[in-house]
Protein backbone atom coordinates (compact mmCIF):
# COMPACT_ATOMS: atom_id res chain seq x y z
CA UNK A 1 0.00 0.00 0.00
CA UNK A 2 1.31 3.46 -0.84
CA UNK A 3 1.73 5.85 1.97
CA UNK A 4 0.17 9.21 1.71
CA UNK A 5 2.25 12.28 2.37
CA UNK A 6 6.05 12.28 2.50
CA UNK A 7 8.53 13.63 -0.07
CA UNK A 8 6.89 11.93 -3.06
CA UNK A 9 3.59 13.58 -2.29
CA UNK A 10 5.33 16.95 -1.93
CA UNK A 11 7.05 16.49 -5.29
CA UNK A 12 3.73 15.52 -6.92
CA UNK A 13 2.05 18.57 -5.50
CA UNK A 14 4.90 20.73 -6.78
CA UNK A 15 4.59 19.19 -10.25
CA UNK A 16 0.84 19.69 -10.24
CA UNK A 17 1.34 23.29 -9.18
CA UNK A 18 3.89 23.80 -11.97
CA UNK A 19 1.56 22.19 -14.49
CA UNK A 20 -1.27 24.39 -13.31
CA UNK A 21 0.91 27.46 -13.67
CA UNK A 22 2.04 26.39 -17.15
CA UNK A 23 -1.56 25.81 -18.32
CA UNK A 24 -2.63 29.13 -16.83
CA UNK A 25 0.26 30.95 -18.53
CA UNK A 26 -0.47 29.23 -21.84
CA UNK A 27 -4.15 30.14 -21.53
CA UNK A 28 -3.27 33.73 -20.77
CA UNK A 29 -0.98 33.93 -23.80
CA UNK A 30 -3.68 32.41 -25.99
CA UNK A 31 -6.13 35.01 -24.70
CA UNK A 32 -3.74 37.81 -25.59
CA UNK A 33 -3.19 36.36 -29.06
CA UNK A 34 -6.95 36.11 -29.54
CA UNK A 35 -7.51 39.72 -28.53
CA UNK A 36 -4.74 40.86 -30.88
CA UNK A 37 -6.26 38.81 -33.71
CA UNK A 38 -9.68 40.31 -33.01
CA UNK A 39 -8.23 43.82 -33.28
CA UNK A 40 -6.45 42.85 -36.51
CA UNK A 41 -9.73 41.53 -37.96
CA UNK A 42 -11.43 44.82 -37.15
CA UNK A 43 -8.82 46.74 -39.15
CA UNK A 44 -9.84 45.12 -42.45
CA UNK A 45 -11.47 47.34 -45.01
CA UNK A 46 -14.58 45.16 -45.24
CA UNK A 47 -17.74 46.95 -46.34
CA UNK A 48 -20.59 46.18 -48.71
CA UNK A 49 -18.65 48.06 -51.35
CA UNK A 50 -15.43 46.08 -50.90
CA UNK A 51 -16.96 42.59 -50.65
CA UNK A 52 -16.75 41.90 -54.42
CA UNK A 53 -13.07 42.88 -54.53
CA UNK A 54 -12.21 40.67 -51.53
CA UNK A 55 -14.19 37.83 -53.08
CA UNK A 56 -12.29 38.11 -56.34
CA UNK A 57 -8.98 38.32 -54.53
CA UNK A 58 -9.60 35.19 -52.44
CA UNK A 59 -11.29 32.95 -55.01
CA UNK A 60 -8.98 30.96 -57.29
CA UNK A 61 -8.05 32.39 -60.65
CA UNK A 62 -8.85 30.68 -63.94
CA UNK A 63 -5.29 29.34 -64.03
CA UNK A 64 -5.54 28.04 -60.48
CA UNK A 65 -8.69 26.17 -61.43
CA UNK A 66 -7.17 24.53 -64.51
CA UNK A 67 -7.36 21.10 -62.88
CA UNK A 68 -11.16 21.42 -62.73
CA UNK A 69 -11.38 21.28 -66.51
CA UNK A 70 -10.79 17.55 -66.24
CA UNK A 71 -14.08 15.73 -65.86
CA UNK A 72 -13.17 14.08 -62.54
CA UNK A 73 -15.45 11.31 -61.41
CA UNK A 74 -16.33 11.10 -57.73
CA UNK A 75 -15.34 7.50 -57.03
CA UNK A 76 -12.92 4.80 -58.09
CA UNK A 77 -15.79 2.54 -59.08
CA UNK A 78 -17.29 5.20 -61.35
CA UNK A 79 -13.88 5.70 -62.95
CA UNK A 80 -13.36 1.99 -63.57
CA UNK A 81 -16.75 1.64 -65.19
CA UNK A 82 -16.26 4.69 -67.42
CA UNK A 83 -12.75 3.58 -68.42
CA UNK A 84 -14.10 0.15 -69.33
CA UNK A 85 -16.91 1.67 -71.40
CA UNK A 86 -14.57 3.83 -73.46
CA UNK A 87 -11.65 1.38 -73.52
CA UNK A 88 -9.19 3.79 -71.97
CA UNK A 89 -6.80 3.60 -69.02
CA UNK A 90 -7.79 5.20 -65.73
CA UNK A 91 -5.95 8.02 -63.94
CA UNK A 92 -6.46 7.71 -60.19
CA UNK A 93 -5.40 10.58 -57.90
CA UNK A 94 -5.13 9.46 -54.29
CA UNK A 95 -4.45 11.73 -51.31
CA UNK A 96 -4.22 11.01 -47.63
CA UNK A 97 -6.77 12.81 -45.55
CA UNK A 98 -9.39 15.10 -46.94
CA UNK A 99 -9.21 15.68 -50.70
CA UNK A 100 -10.07 19.35 -50.32
CA UNK A 101 -7.75 19.93 -47.38
CA UNK A 102 -4.74 17.98 -48.49
CA UNK A 103 -1.14 18.56 -47.56
Amino acid sequence: MKRSGGPHASRSLALIAMLGFTIHAAGEEQGQQLDAATRAAERFDLTDATIPAWRDHILPTHAERAWERIEWLPSFTAGLRRADEVNRPLLLWVMNGHPLGCT
Partner: protein, 296 residues
Protein backbone atom coordinates in the same frame (compact mmCIF):
# COMPACT_ATOMS: atom_id res chain seq x y z
CA UNK B 1 -13.84 -3.58 -46.59
CA UNK B 2 -15.77 -3.16 -49.83
CA UNK B 3 -14.91 -4.55 -53.24
CA UNK B 4 -13.76 -1.13 -54.43
CA UNK B 5 -11.21 -0.93 -51.61
CA UNK B 6 -9.87 -4.42 -52.28
CA UNK B 7 -9.55 -3.60 -55.96
CA UNK B 8 -7.49 -0.51 -55.16
CA UNK B 9 -5.44 -2.32 -52.55
CA UNK B 10 -4.44 -4.99 -55.06
CA UNK B 11 -3.01 -2.46 -57.49
CA UNK B 12 -1.46 -0.26 -54.79
CA UNK B 13 0.36 -3.31 -53.45
CA UNK B 14 2.43 -3.36 -56.63
CA UNK B 15 2.76 0.44 -56.90
CA UNK B 16 5.30 2.93 -55.63
CA UNK B 17 4.40 2.45 -51.93
CA UNK B 18 4.05 -1.15 -50.80
CA UNK B 19 4.09 -0.87 -47.03
CA UNK B 20 0.66 -2.22 -45.99
CA UNK B 21 0.66 0.08 -42.97
CA UNK B 22 1.96 3.13 -44.82
CA UNK B 23 0.53 5.78 -47.07
CA UNK B 24 -0.74 4.93 -50.54
CA UNK B 25 -1.11 8.47 -51.77
CA UNK B 26 -0.01 9.28 -55.26
CA UNK B 27 -1.04 9.10 -58.89
CA UNK B 28 -1.86 5.76 -60.46
CA UNK B 29 -2.52 4.78 -64.07
CA UNK B 30 -4.32 1.48 -64.37
CA UNK B 31 -6.42 -0.59 -66.72
CA UNK B 32 -10.09 -1.19 -65.91
CA UNK B 33 -8.99 -4.76 -65.25
CA UNK B 34 -7.08 -3.52 -62.21
CA UNK B 35 -3.66 -4.00 -63.76
CA UNK B 36 -1.28 -1.26 -62.68
CA UNK B 37 0.37 0.52 -65.60
CA UNK B 38 2.39 3.22 -63.78
CA UNK B 39 2.40 5.14 -60.51
CA UNK B 40 4.27 7.86 -58.64
CA UNK B 41 3.95 10.25 -55.74
CA UNK B 42 5.83 13.41 -56.63
CA UNK B 43 5.51 17.19 -56.54
CA UNK B 44 7.65 17.40 -59.69
CA UNK B 45 5.29 17.96 -62.64
CA UNK B 46 7.85 16.66 -65.13
CA UNK B 47 8.16 13.41 -63.21
CA UNK B 48 4.38 13.09 -63.11
CA UNK B 49 4.14 13.70 -66.88
CA UNK B 50 6.76 11.03 -67.52
CA UNK B 51 4.74 8.62 -65.39
CA UNK B 52 1.56 9.39 -67.33
CA UNK B 53 3.42 8.81 -70.60
CA UNK B 54 4.75 5.51 -69.29
CA UNK B 55 1.24 4.50 -68.27
CA UNK B 56 -0.13 5.29 -71.71
CA UNK B 57 2.68 3.38 -73.39
CA UNK B 58 2.01 0.36 -71.17
CA UNK B 59 -1.69 0.60 -72.03
CA UNK B 60 -0.96 0.54 -75.75
CA UNK B 61 1.02 -2.67 -75.30
CA UNK B 62 -1.58 -4.30 -73.10
CA UNK B 63 -3.53 -7.10 -74.85
CA UNK B 64 -7.25 -6.45 -75.16
CA UNK B 65 -8.00 -9.47 -73.02
CA UNK B 66 -6.17 -7.86 -70.09
CA UNK B 67 -7.89 -4.49 -70.32
CA UNK B 68 -11.50 -5.15 -69.39
CA UNK B 69 -13.19 -4.71 -66.05
CA UNK B 70 -13.92 -8.14 -64.54
CA UNK B 71 -17.48 -9.20 -65.32
CA UNK B 72 -18.07 -10.01 -61.66
CA UNK B 73 -16.73 -6.67 -60.37
CA UNK B 74 -19.04 -5.72 -57.52
CA UNK B 75 -17.91 -2.10 -57.17
CA UNK B 76 -18.93 0.07 -54.30
CA UNK B 77 -21.41 -1.28 -51.82
CA UNK B 78 -20.71 0.50 -48.57
CA UNK B 79 -22.46 3.74 -47.69
CA UNK B 80 -20.18 6.75 -47.52
CA UNK B 81 -20.42 10.24 -46.04
CA UNK B 82 -21.52 11.61 -49.41
CA UNK B 83 -24.88 9.98 -48.77
CA UNK B 84 -25.40 12.40 -45.87
CA UNK B 85 -25.22 15.47 -48.11
CA UNK B 86 -28.19 17.76 -47.35
CA UNK B 87 -29.48 17.89 -50.90
CA UNK B 88 -32.52 19.89 -49.83
CA UNK B 89 -30.52 22.12 -47.49
CA UNK B 90 -27.64 24.52 -47.96
CA UNK B 91 -24.28 23.42 -49.37
CA UNK B 92 -21.62 26.12 -49.35
CA UNK B 93 -18.24 26.01 -51.00
CA UNK B 94 -15.57 27.67 -48.89
CA UNK B 95 -12.29 29.01 -50.21
CA UNK B 96 -9.49 30.44 -48.12
CA UNK B 97 -6.25 32.20 -48.94
CA UNK B 98 -3.38 33.88 -47.13
CA UNK B 99 -3.58 37.67 -47.27
CA UNK B 100 -0.70 40.13 -47.31
CA UNK B 101 -2.59 43.13 -45.97
CA UNK B 102 -5.90 44.49 -44.70
CA UNK B 103 -6.68 46.77 -47.62
CA UNK B 104 -6.87 46.03 -51.35
CA UNK B 105 -5.17 45.95 -53.79
CA UNK B 106 -2.80 43.27 -52.56
CA UNK B 107 -0.37 40.84 -54.06
CA UNK B 108 -2.13 37.51 -54.38
CA UNK B 109 -0.60 34.61 -52.48
CA UNK B 110 -0.38 31.32 -54.35
CA UNK B 111 -1.68 29.10 -51.54
CA UNK B 112 -5.40 28.53 -51.23
CA UNK B 113 -7.70 25.74 -50.22
CA UNK B 114 -11.29 24.58 -50.37
CA UNK B 115 -13.88 22.84 -48.31
CA UNK B 116 -17.64 22.52 -48.13
CA UNK B 117 -19.98 23.58 -45.33
CA UNK B 118 -23.23 21.66 -45.06
CA UNK B 119 -26.50 22.74 -43.44
CA UNK B 120 -29.66 20.67 -43.32
CA UNK B 121 -32.94 22.03 -44.64
CA UNK B 122 -34.00 23.14 -41.16
CA UNK B 123 -30.59 24.70 -40.52
CA UNK B 124 -30.74 26.54 -43.84
CA UNK B 125 -34.08 28.01 -42.79
CA UNK B 126 -32.53 29.01 -39.45
CA UNK B 127 -30.39 31.59 -41.24
CA UNK B 128 -33.57 33.65 -41.74
CA UNK B 129 -35.13 35.81 -39.04
CA UNK B 130 -38.55 34.65 -37.91
CA UNK B 131 -39.97 37.95 -39.13
CA UNK B 132 -39.25 38.62 -42.78
CA UNK B 133 -40.16 42.31 -42.90
CA UNK B 134 -37.31 44.59 -44.03
CA UNK B 135 -35.20 45.55 -41.03
CA UNK B 136 -36.02 42.41 -39.06
CA UNK B 137 -32.89 40.82 -37.67
CA UNK B 138 -31.83 37.88 -35.60
CA UNK B 139 -28.73 36.22 -34.33
CA UNK B 140 -27.77 33.05 -36.13
CA UNK B 141 -28.30 30.09 -33.78
CA UNK B 142 -25.15 29.42 -31.77
CA UNK B 143 -24.70 25.91 -33.11
CA UNK B 144 -24.51 27.22 -36.67
CA UNK B 145 -22.14 30.06 -35.81
CA UNK B 146 -20.02 27.55 -33.94
CA UNK B 147 -20.06 25.19 -36.90
CA UNK B 148 -18.42 27.88 -38.97
CA UNK B 149 -16.01 28.87 -36.19
CA UNK B 150 -15.01 25.35 -35.18
CA UNK B 151 -14.85 23.57 -38.52
CA UNK B 152 -14.65 26.07 -41.36
CA UNK B 153 -12.92 29.26 -40.26
CA UNK B 154 -9.73 27.30 -39.70
CA UNK B 155 -6.25 27.63 -41.12
CA UNK B 156 -5.92 24.92 -43.74
CA UNK B 157 -4.56 27.22 -46.44
CA UNK B 158 -1.39 25.15 -46.71
CA UNK B 159 -2.59 21.78 -45.50
CA UNK B 160 -5.08 19.89 -43.44
CA UNK B 161 -5.60 21.15 -39.94
CA UNK B 162 -7.67 20.46 -36.84
CA UNK B 163 -11.09 21.72 -35.80
CA UNK B 164 -11.63 23.70 -32.62
CA UNK B 165 -13.29 22.25 -29.54
CA UNK B 166 -16.56 23.75 -28.29
CA UNK B 167 -14.81 25.51 -25.43
CA UNK B 168 -12.26 27.05 -27.82
CA UNK B 169 -14.90 29.33 -29.38
CA UNK B 170 -15.82 32.48 -27.45
CA UNK B 171 -17.41 35.78 -28.34
CA UNK B 172 -18.61 34.65 -31.75
CA UNK B 173 -21.78 36.11 -33.17
CA UNK B 174 -23.41 36.38 -36.59
CA UNK B 175 -26.41 38.63 -37.19
CA UNK B 176 -28.70 38.22 -40.20
CA UNK B 177 -30.94 41.11 -41.23
CA UNK B 178 -33.70 41.30 -43.83
CA UNK B 179 -32.89 43.94 -46.44
CA UNK B 180 -35.75 43.40 -48.85
CA UNK B 181 -38.82 41.17 -49.02
CA UNK B 182 -40.71 40.17 -52.16
CA UNK B 183 -42.93 37.13 -52.74
CA UNK B 184 -40.18 35.26 -54.53
CA UNK B 185 -37.12 36.50 -52.66
CA UNK B 186 -35.89 37.60 -49.27
CA UNK B 187 -32.61 39.47 -49.41
CA UNK B 188 -30.45 39.20 -46.31
CA UNK B 189 -27.41 41.04 -44.98
CA UNK B 190 -25.00 39.05 -42.84
CA UNK B 191 -22.49 40.45 -40.36
CA UNK B 192 -20.52 39.02 -37.51
CA UNK B 193 -17.31 37.92 -35.91
CA UNK B 194 -15.77 34.67 -34.77
CA UNK B 195 -13.07 33.98 -32.22
CA UNK B 196 -11.40 30.65 -31.54
CA UNK B 197 -8.24 29.72 -29.64
CA UNK B 198 -7.09 26.18 -28.96
CA UNK B 199 -7.01 24.99 -25.38
CA UNK B 200 -6.58 21.75 -23.48
CA UNK B 201 -10.33 21.17 -23.73
CA UNK B 202 -10.27 18.71 -26.62
CA UNK B 203 -13.76 17.19 -26.83
CA UNK B 204 -13.72 15.05 -29.96
CA UNK B 205 -12.22 11.73 -28.84
CA UNK B 206 -14.00 9.75 -31.54
CA UNK B 207 -12.95 12.01 -34.38
CA UNK B 208 -10.37 10.88 -36.89
CA UNK B 209 -8.53 14.16 -36.33
CA UNK B 210 -6.76 14.08 -32.97
CA UNK B 211 -4.13 16.59 -31.93
CA UNK B 212 -0.90 14.83 -31.08
CA UNK B 213 0.82 16.80 -29.77
CA UNK B 214 -1.23 19.93 -29.18
CA UNK B 215 0.10 23.25 -30.36
CA UNK B 216 -1.33 26.68 -29.57
CA UNK B 217 -3.28 28.07 -32.50
CA UNK B 218 -6.23 30.32 -33.08
CA UNK B 219 -8.05 32.71 -35.35
CA UNK B 220 -10.37 35.71 -35.20
CA UNK B 221 -12.43 36.85 -38.16
CA UNK B 222 -14.91 39.50 -39.14
CA UNK B 223 -17.67 38.48 -41.55
CA UNK B 224 -19.86 40.34 -43.98
CA UNK B 225 -22.04 39.19 -46.81
CA UNK B 226 -25.45 38.88 -48.41
CA UNK B 227 -27.82 36.12 -49.41
CA UNK B 228 -31.11 35.68 -51.20
CA UNK B 229 -33.67 33.11 -50.07
CA UNK B 230 -36.56 31.96 -52.23
CA UNK B 231 -39.45 31.25 -49.84
CA UNK B 232 -41.49 29.56 -52.55
CA UNK B 233 -38.77 27.04 -53.37
CA UNK B 234 -37.47 27.02 -49.77
CA UNK B 235 -33.89 27.42 -50.88
CA UNK B 236 -31.09 29.94 -51.10
CA UNK B 237 -30.55 31.21 -54.62
CA UNK B 238 -27.62 33.47 -53.76
CA UNK B 239 -25.13 33.37 -50.91
CA UNK B 240 -21.86 35.22 -50.56
CA UNK B 241 -20.06 35.64 -47.26
CA UNK B 242 -16.54 37.02 -46.84
CA UNK B 243 -14.58 36.47 -43.62
CA UNK B 244 -11.30 38.28 -43.02
CA UNK B 245 -9.08 37.85 -40.02
CA UNK B 246 -5.85 36.89 -38.37
CA UNK B 247 -4.62 33.43 -37.40
CA UNK B 248 -1.63 32.26 -35.41
CA UNK B 249 0.10 29.07 -34.39
CA UNK B 250 0.11 25.73 -36.15
CA UNK B 251 -1.31 22.23 -36.08
CA UNK B 252 0.49 19.01 -36.85
CA UNK B 253 0.02 19.02 -40.62
CA UNK B 254 -1.03 22.50 -41.72
CA UNK B 255 2.53 23.46 -42.75
CA UNK B 256 2.76 26.48 -40.42
CA UNK B 257 5.21 24.81 -38.04
CA UNK B 258 8.04 27.06 -39.15
CA UNK B 259 5.87 30.17 -39.45
CA UNK B 260 3.60 30.17 -36.40
CA UNK B 261 3.58 33.95 -36.07
CA UNK B 262 0.28 35.78 -36.73
CA UNK B 263 -0.76 36.17 -40.35
CA UNK B 264 -3.80 37.46 -42.22
CA UNK B 265 -6.27 35.12 -43.84
CA UNK B 266 -9.44 35.43 -45.90
CA UNK B 267 -12.42 33.17 -46.62
CA UNK B 268 -15.27 33.19 -49.13
CA UNK B 269 -18.41 31.11 -48.65
CA UNK B 270 -20.78 30.83 -51.58
CA UNK B 271 -23.28 28.38 -53.01
CA UNK B 272 -21.51 25.26 -54.22
CA UNK B 273 -21.77 24.90 -57.98
CA UNK B 274 -24.01 22.07 -59.20
CA UNK B 275 -22.33 18.73 -59.82
CA UNK B 276 -20.84 15.83 -57.98
CA UNK B 277 -18.09 17.90 -56.35
CA UNK B 278 -20.52 19.53 -53.92
CA UNK B 279 -21.01 16.15 -52.30
CA UNK B 280 -17.37 15.92 -51.30
CA UNK B 281 -17.89 16.01 -47.57
CA UNK B 282 -16.81 18.76 -45.21
CA UNK B 283 -13.37 17.93 -43.83
CA UNK B 284 -14.73 17.64 -40.30
CA UNK B 285 -18.10 16.05 -41.04
CA UNK B 286 -17.32 13.22 -38.61
CA UNK B 287 -17.33 15.68 -35.70
CA UNK B 288 -20.09 18.01 -36.92
CA UNK B 289 -22.33 18.97 -34.05
CA UNK B 290 -25.54 17.90 -35.82
CA UNK B 291 -28.00 15.06 -35.34
CA UNK B 292 -28.35 14.50 -39.07
CA UNK B 293 -24.59 14.08 -39.59
CA UNK B 294 -24.41 10.47 -38.45
CA UNK B 295 -21.53 8.26 -39.50
CA UNK B 296 -22.77 5.97 -42.33
Amino acid sequence: MGAECRFFQALANVGHYRDPDGTRQGIYVCAPSGRLLASINSLDPEAVCRTLDAGLAAWEKLPAAQRRLPADFAGRAETRWESRAPRDGLILESTNRDLTGARLPLERGDRWNRDHAWFSRAEARAWLPAESAPGAAHELPTELTNRLARFHLVDNVRGQTLPFARADVTGSRIVVRVVERRPERIELAIEGQTRAASSAAWDMPTGIWTPEPRHPRGIATRLRGRAVYDPQQAEFTEFELVALGQRWGFSDTNARRHEPEPGLIGFVFRLAPPGAAQFVTPAFIDVYDADWAQRP
